[in-house]
Symmetry: C2
Subunit: 337 residues, 2 copies
């Protein structure tokens, strides 16, 4: 790929990102004041298409970037992705409007991400399934309720209230506490499954409903608490011309409603804390996302980690989005809340 081809590919992608319309040779020359004739550009375009970086919607239309084209753009062309002063001041304004609770309130954070990027924002707490249970503690609060504390391998403490059925004595609760600890200590969260529950129920002599409660609470730590997915800005994508067809929108949203798939998508390959992970269209392996791109990054907040994603059209403003995410990481790591 020679320098001129890079330049042309860059120009086409930039134009297509902002216009959403196929770019022709003539238009390109005009808009970028290139010192070549349209015919030359056409030749280069034909080459780029042959190489797989561009595609043509129909025989006699301009070119649009292919997924491979976007990939090349993201990997090898994009350089400066710092925020413009305008963007920066807008972000700061939105942050101050959101209040103090950004890092504590995923919904607020999601709203901010969506507002800034004008794409869909996704926030997940990274999966803790390999954590093991260090200790489980039952603290009676009253005759009918107690708090169950779970201390995990890394020292984090989770807790949840459970209600105690009538007629259960303190002794029974103590016995249960001992039993639960003996059986669950050291068990990884990912192994809290229904098979385990069956064996628990078989082994324990006392009140089974309490065992159930505790079991589901611990399981909840893993599934719901540890893997909650917060989303915002779904309507933003409806502004994009690629989604003016309701059927596409329906397929897209239907996939979004299946949290597991999205969590999987955000989980895979996000191990690198350093930077961010970009998935373009077909790379996600979901038919309904074939015209989308997803930018995923994992953040260290003050007290925990979160994984966040920006889902936009494949024709996404990569520079701006990446710039914002990097800025946000900087913001949090330098004490922003």
């Amino acid at each position: 790929m020679d320098k001129r081809k890079r330049l042309i590919l860059h120009a086409i992608i930039q134009d297509y990102i902002s216009s959403a319309e196929p770019i022709g040779s003539r238009t390109l020359v005009k808009r970028h004041q290139i010192d070549l004739s349209p015919a030359t550009i056409r030749n280069e375009m034909a080459d780029l298409e042959e190489m797989g970086y561009l595609q043509q919607p129909h025989t006699s239309a301009g070119r649009i970037p292919s997924p491979k084209g976007y990939r090349y753009y993201v990997n090898s062309i994009l350089e400066d992705s710092s925020l413009t002063p305008q963007d920066l001041s807008r972000v700061e304004e939105l942050i101050s409007a959101a209040g103090i609770s950004l890092s504590k309130n995923p919904r607020q954070l999601a709203r901010l991400l969506a507002a800034v990027t004008s794409y869909i924002s996704l926030i997940a707490e990274p999966s803790d399934n390999v954590q093991d249970i260090r200790h489980i503690n039952l603290i009676p609060l009253s005759a009918t309720s107690a708090i169950c504390l779970v201390v995990l391998g890394d020292g984090t403490v989770k807790h949840h209230s459970i209600s105690i059925p009538e007629g259960v004595t303190t002794q029974e609760i103590d016995a249960l506490s001992v039993f639960i600890n003996r059986r669950l200590q050291g068990v990884q969260l990912q192994h809290i499954d229904s098979r385990l529950l069956c064996s628990l129920r078989a082994e324990f002599a006392g009140n089974l409903s309490l065992v159930d409660d505790i079991f589901y609470m611990v399981r909840h730590l893993m599934v719901a608490d540890g893997q909650e997915l917060v989303m915002d800005g779904a309507t933003n994508l409806l502004k994009e011309p690629e989604f003016k067809d309701v059927d596409k929108v329906r397929e897209l949203f239907r996939t979004l409603e299946q949290n597991e798939q999205i969590l999987k998508l955000m989980g895979s390959g996000s191990s690198r804390l350093e930077d961010l992970d970009i998935k373009i269209g077909p790379e996600m392996g979901l038919e309904s996302f074939s015209e989308c791109s997803l930018v995923v990054a994992t953040f260290n907040l003050t007290d925990r980690k979160v994984t966040l994603g920006i889902l936009g059209p494949a024709r996404m403003q990569y520079a701006k989005t990446i710039g914002f995410i990097r800025w946000l990481r900087e913001y949090f790591s330098s004490g922003g809340s």
Copy 2:
């Protein structure tokens, strides 16, 4: 409104609900084997339109029900809204597939509602804002974390973990505990606002960040925990012909993203526990909902109340929806989980 007009209105609404297309006199006669000529029906239709129960999309189209028409249908025509055996068995199948946790897990419940009705389901815990705080308790867990317990006026206990900044002594925590109790005891949740926070910060001499933490946690009880909104089935509405236009969809979803409005909508008029509340189109006062209807009901679950709503097109299958909600209430009150 004489008997024949009722009959005709009923027939038109039924047909329109299932077909989504304006109903003409000829079609109506054929489909319902009415012993009158189309011309007579036309006269009656013209009357019904004059009375406000029907409207015409254009001069030479059939009639569709007006909001007033739906209102009359719901209030005065609808009688039998019990589930058909097929529906019933489908519901039971879905419930058993969902597992045990229906009444504990709002998301599961929302998913069920959406699946059964094929509309949008909304679940909110009813607002507890008038509750007052009876007691606040800080339980240190370790040097850097504690649990904050809040006992509300009705005896319910809420809790949340907070992290303790370095260098804060046990004495300070005790002092804070005393201070917080003195200042917040008896305060209603709805009065936990930023003005109160300011005066707290002004009065307290110790670590302000801890005050903030507790304050936001209590506030969270009210806003997020007490008023969380769970939604499912948004894609269902995209199947309906009235939403084949992306712009309408965008407006609708944009409104749905503003939880406060929806919560307000579900809160108003849902005081009657007995039955359910139906809001038709313009009655909701939201432009983007003008072609929708909302059915709201409040449920007594084993340990708490929830308000749930079904949002569908104004052309909703009212009988089925109402029947299902009544059945579900029966199911929960007779020990279903």
